[in-house]
């Protein structure tokens, strides 16, 4: 399961990315993640299965939606509280649900 995290510059989502991997692996899944800047989304999206966007990406949601629909990928904007508390478990749940539904 390859999860792509995007935010302004790839830095602030890096932390929740690693937590999410840990949460996924503790549940027995094979998870890999990378964190990129939203500017690079269209270049890297094909290498991933699902997209998780940091809360500050709300203002760029239309662009994200467009690119995801073009490349047939599902995305979610991480909830503020989940993001701030670095809740990898919650985050992984959302990603998993997106892929399975």
């Amino acid at each position: 399961m390859r999860i792509l995290f995007i935010c302004g510059n790839g830095v602030s989502s890096g932390m929740i990315a690693t937590r999410t991997v840990k949460a996924g692996e503790s549940q027995g899944y094979d998870v890999t993640t990378e964190a990129y800047s939203y500017a690079e989304l269209s270049e890297v999206i094909d290498d991933f299965d699902v997209i998780m966007a940091a809360p500050q990406m709300k203002c760029n949601e239309d662009m994200i939606k467009e690119i995801c629909e073009e490349h047939d990928r599902k995305y979610a904007i991480i909830d503020n509280y989940v993001f701030s508390t670095l809740d990898g478990t919650k985050c992984f749940e959302v990603a998993k649900n997106l892929l399975e539904n």
Partner: protein
């Protein structure tokens, strides 16, 4: 609904939608993409400068400032490529985006009116570097507009029997030929670089005044606390900051004192972004000591990032974003801190940074010392820290009270 509630609703709804629309037009996006993508090139130069500061202590370290010439010193070329490329990409013209970028580089070099001497191409180094950024920016946007319209419209009928590769070739050859011809002509008869400098000088002058300095910061802060990426206004700020630090470096090399305060080194690395934009490190500390469970938890989770000046966890966790009480505190701090910083530098109490570094993620006050090697800068930093702490305090307390009341109500309901 209370006024407070209505305000929150408007901020999160219609206001955000309008700003989203504005920020997502292809040209704004191209500018944003440009600076965030090119940042590593600037930071390569910063690393060289960083190593150079250590030469003050250990003089066996070689002088690496030439690295700057091959990274930061070519920034206009990179911008010239990337801006129209991004515009073309936003408009989904993927077949022609590369050639557009290349054509833009050709255009920039042609405009710089280089000389051919003894088999050498002699270009003004400033024009492909920090001195050409305004031209590259304007040129990139203009080429982006022209080329995207041209390619969208096309030269041939839609159902032409020619293979699409050939169509792209013919269309590209024609417009690139005309573009280079035009730029050669302009470059040989006008000095566009100096001209644009004069045109933009008033803006730059405003940016370099007290009001401009503080306003630029407050606009970025306002965007941020409204949930919009501060990256929206960043291209403008970045262009100003880069030109200024380059000018400072040039002044020092010529034996003059540096005079420009509005630089990334002052604002982001040194004194105006303690823990991130809006000086949230003191705020994070307040959160650590809070009696509200939610605030306390987030404070603990966010402190590691705050130390590295990444404050999204604090901004979205407390939250500050779209939270009127904290937004007010945030904006008050965003007025006071740059104000004090500017005055202190203007009075010459602390040395103005003159070396480009742009390493915003290094913890302060370490980066604070690195930008100007002046211990007085650390004293200023400490003062600003305490100041921000006490300015945030009443706003934080007001919000904390709300949170604690809410938590108590919830606890009672569950009981």
């Amino acid at each position: 609904m209370s006024f407070y509630g209505k305000l929150q609703e408007w901020l999160a709804g219609p206001f955000t939608q309008k700003m989203q629309k504005f920020m997502q037009n292809p040209y704004m996006r191209a500018l944003q993409t440009c600076f965030s993508t090119i940042l590593p090139m600037i930071m390569v130069g910063s690393l060289a400068s960083l190593i150079n500061t250590f030469r003050n202590f250990w003089d066996w370290i070689p002088d690496l400032s030439l690295i700057n010439s091959f990274s930061f010193g070519l920034i206009s070329l990179f911008m010239a490529f990337l801006i129209p490329y991004s515009v073309m990409e936003s408009k989904k013209l993927h077949k022609q985006k590369m050639i557009t970028g290349f054509a833009s580089i050709s255009a920039l070099v042609a405009l710089a009116n280089p000389q051919f001497v003894d088999g050498n191409l002699v270009v003004n180094s400033g024009y492909v570097g920090t001195g050409g950024m305004t031209v590259a920016l304007v040129l990139g946007l203009v080429i982006g507009a022209i080329f995207s319209t041209y390619f969208k419209h096309g030269l041939f009928k839609k159902n032409t029997s020619l293979p699409s590769v050939v169509v792209v070739w013919f269309e590209s050859i024609l417009i690139v030929f005309l573009l280079i011809l035009a730029c050669m002509f302009i470059g040989q008869h006008f000095d566009l670089f100096s001209l644009l400098e004069v045109v933009f000088a008033p803006l730059a002058n405003i940016g370099n005044t007290y009001l401009g300095f503080v306003l630029l910061y407050m606009i970025m802060a306002l965007c941020y606390c409204c949930g919009l990426s501060a990256w929206a206004v960043w291209p403008i700020a970045c262009a100003l900051y880069l030109t200024n630090i380059a000018a400072n470096a040039a002044a020092v090399a010529a034996g003059q004192p540096p005079i420009y305060i509005a630089t990334d080194e002052v604002v982001f690395m040194g004194w105006c972004c303690l823990g991130g934009m809006g000086c949230t490190l003191p705020l994070n500390i307040l959160m650590l000591r809070s009696k509200s469970k939610k605030i306390n938890t987030i404070g603990k989770a966010a402190i590691a990032s705050s130390i590295f000046n990444i404050n999204e966890p604090v901004m979205y966790g407390l939250p500050v974003v779209l939270n009127p009480v904290m937004m007010l505190g945030f904006m008050v701090v965003s007025f006071i801190i740059p104000t004090v910083t500017y005055i202190v530098f203007k009075l010459g109490l602390v040395a103005i940074p003159a070396v480009a570094m742009m390493m915003n993620f290094l913890p302060q006050p370490i980066s604070t010392f690195m930008v100007n090697s002046d211990f007085k800068g650390i004293i200023l930093w400490a003062l600003l820290f305490v100041l921000a702490y006490f300015v945030y305090l009443p706003f934080f307390k007001a919000y904390e009270k709300q949170e604690i009341e809410r938590e108590q109500e919830e606890a009672q309901e569950e009981a």
